[in-house]
Symmetry: C2
Subunit: 446 residues, 2 copies
């Protein structure tokens, strides 16, 4: 479809484009725009059916949104801004340069401008910054029939009418009623009798992580947002929550790989910004690896006497790191999904201890034979020292990996920060100390 | 609330429980059950309002579901099974032991039994295994008024009526219409005139990853599932997709931490099963780390001559691993979210190359001064060798980390498998070879 439009454009068949494009999904049209040349963008944009223009506009990249606003007339700007949902308008204003912001605000109604200003004050990632104000509100005295008529009259602009909200004179939220209940009930039934008074709501300054958690736990599709006086100020819908979930996951992936989290898409991020998000943690970890180096240096005489011990250092360090991050990942993920809580700390330790005994024994057992029979210069005692270290390392790594994320959570730190890289550094050091102590003891090198 | 019920139960105030529990959310009631003693479960379960019993039942753990089914009468079983949505009934049957399955099937209607059997044939994680068959279907000749009456008559059992589906005589899907459109349009409008004929649909054997991708891309709340003849067989709703998204993310987290993926919750997984999911990759990585060890062994004479070089091995290996997994994580995540595609391979390489030059230079520069001025026994040449290696290592690690996931994708392997642990092993080896070669050259040790 995309290719057909591009083909039609090359042939100058604009009226045909006008016909075809109306049948496309707005998301696909926005993707089409990403492939158009600058001069083509405005021509095709003006061919869009009027009711689709604002919808397509919200799916464009910020660069293209800027280009469109800069190119259109004041009247066209007004039309688009009028059709934008408030949360999309706010997102737009936050990203545009001053001249574009000016043009947008000039073509916004006084009322909408006030609302936008209010929205801009909510903290990043709070319920207030995510919510939309386009919802249906009803009065509890209304009948089903009156409610449906009210929705018919006012509902066209609402982002979701699947759930309606019932407020009192002071705009305090009293109940919710899904639209299906309106349809399934008799015309004369009073809303008060069918509305759900046991609803969940969130406050404007609640964090998006908490919101996502509630949506998942209770299988919600929408949730009302109230202010401190319990007045309804907006709603959050599931499609925004899906984006939040992916964003929170991306953040965890990044933290667990020693990256400072960033919301930007990889291909759209500048080289400088990518580098900036990586350097800090690499420096921290590089300097902490110095301690591991110091441990090796501290046992130089042992290495000098039995140089073959050096050969096994990478294997011990890698296994330590991998064992630790396996445990850490499971616990971090469990914490993120609410399946593990702080009170489970002892259960986790006990579980990791038993798992590590099995895993450690299996690895050490297999490795012993490999080293004893196949590594030149490794006698029984050296094989024993390496494998005892391996066993001990796996046990320590799994205990540290299992407990550190929970400790982080208790200290109100993000458990993901405690993941792989930091745990690797710690268990590397533990592994080496165990290694040299065991070597000194068994090989009589003290 | 939970504590109040437990308190009331201890006091034997059952009628009060009956009052209070009806006001609770079914998810919270299920959590309450998780804290009840076995003998209390059945008493409280029977106090539930009839219309809530099946709902609460679906949120119980499999152990508790089994206990409930084993404890109730045939008639009670029939009531619950009748009220269960088909997809929940199928999930239940898949987890129950033979005797419970028998009891359930005995109390299921002939018609539902047939449907269940059909569902059990769909492959795991396919659209067919996730979909529900409770949807509203309409005829395109119907008026809005007739449609609303039809929904009123049949809609009570439907999992979602927010979107209605229009099929022809052969049950082929012709269009969709959101319920809001029915409400916003005039009573006499014909469905054919307002239904959306450009809808997205999926096939029964499409994979859940693809489904989640489409929901996210097009901001959907429900999607029709059709068979090979384009006949409507079910729908998938956003609440199931949210679970799929989290499951796919969990899988990626696990793969990236060298775990064989598992869907079970950590605290509910046996020690043996946890160990099993960890051992394989640890073994593979342990034995591949042997190669790293062999590299060290191959350069033993160099180490013997300048033993201080050993000190820097952990730092070089750790930085290599961390640099590589930073890049790999960003690319793997970009691939998973559809923000990076195979055709972007060269863009990624070029980006990683430039980033690695900046990062590598910064790390090497800072480290040079630390080593030269603060590490005893490290002269100018040794500091230079270490820092040149560090620079080269960062560049190599970032290139390998950036490109390996894309190669995996091209080979139809899961990019996440290529992540941190495997990349660490590869870049460790590269780092050590670079180290010893540079040392041999600059320190004249060939």
């Amino acid at each position: 479809m995309k290719d057909i439009i591009i083909e039609l454009f090359a042939q100058g068949k604009y009226s045909q484009i006008k016909n075809e494009i109306g049948k496309m999904n707005v998301v696909d049209i926005a993707q089409l725009f990403a492939e158009l040349e600058e001069d083509a963008i405005m021509i095709v944009f003006r061919l869009l059916p009027k009711e689709m223009a604002a919808d397509v506009f919200t799916y464009l990249s910020f660069e293209q949104q800027q280009y469109v606003i800069e190119s259109i007339t004041d009247k066209e700007t007004k039309n688009i801004i009028d059709d934008l949902f408030l949360d999309d308008a706010v997102d737009l204003l936050e990203e545009m340069p001053a001249n574009v912001v000016k043009k947008i605000l000039k073509n916004t109604t006084e009322e909408k401008r006030k609302l936008i200003n209010q929205f801009l004050k909510y903290p990043d990632n709070s319920a207030g910054s995510i919510m939309t104000i386009e919802y249906v509100d009803l009065d509890k005295e209304m009948t089903v029939k009156a409610s449906l008529e009210h929705i018919k009259k006012t509902g066209v602009d609402k982002e979701t009418i699947d759930i309606c909200y019932i407020t009192d004179k002071a705009r305090r939220l009293e109940g919710i009623v899904p639209i299906r209940k309106l349809i399934l009930n008799d015309e004369n039934v009073i809303i008060d009798d069918i509305m759900d008074k046991n609803f969940l709501s969130i406050k404007t300054d609640d964090d998006q992580e908490e919101i996502a958690y509630l949506f998942k736990k209770y299988d919600l599709v929408a949730m009302p947002v109230v202010d401190k006086e319990n007045r309804l100020v907006g709603i959050i819908t599931i499609d925004d929550v899906v984006d939040i979930i992916e964003q929170e996951n991306t953040e965890d992936f990044q933290k667990m790989a020693a990256l400072e989290p960033s919301e930007e898409e990889y291909l759209k991020t500048s080289v400088f910004s990518l580098a900036k998000h990586r350097i800090l943690w690499l420096l921290v970890l590089m300097f902490s690896a110095t301690f591991t180096g110091n441990i090796i240096q501290g046992y130089e005489d042992i290495l000098e006497t039995v140089l073959i011990l050096t050969t096994f250092i990478p294997m011990l360090m890698d296994t330590a790191g991998n064992s630790g991050s396996q445990s850490a990942t499971l616990v971090i993920r469990g914490l993120a999904l609410g399946q593990i809580e702080r009170k489970d700390a002892l259960k986790v330790v006990w579980k990791e201890f038993r798992v590590s005994i099995i895993v450690g024994f299996a690895l050490a057992f297999l490795n012993f034979f490999r080293i004893y029979f196949f590594v030149e210069g490794a006698d029984f005692l050296i094989s024993l020292v390496v494998c005892l270290t391996l066993f001990l390392t796996v046990v320590l790594a799994k205990l540290v990996g299992g407990i550190l994320p929970i400790i982080a959570k208790t200290l109100k730190l993000d458990p993901a920060i405690m993941a792989a890289p930091l745990i690797t550094t710690i268990v590397d050091a533990l592994a080496l100390i165990a290694y040299f102590q065991l070597a000194a003891y068994f090989l009589g090198l003290v």
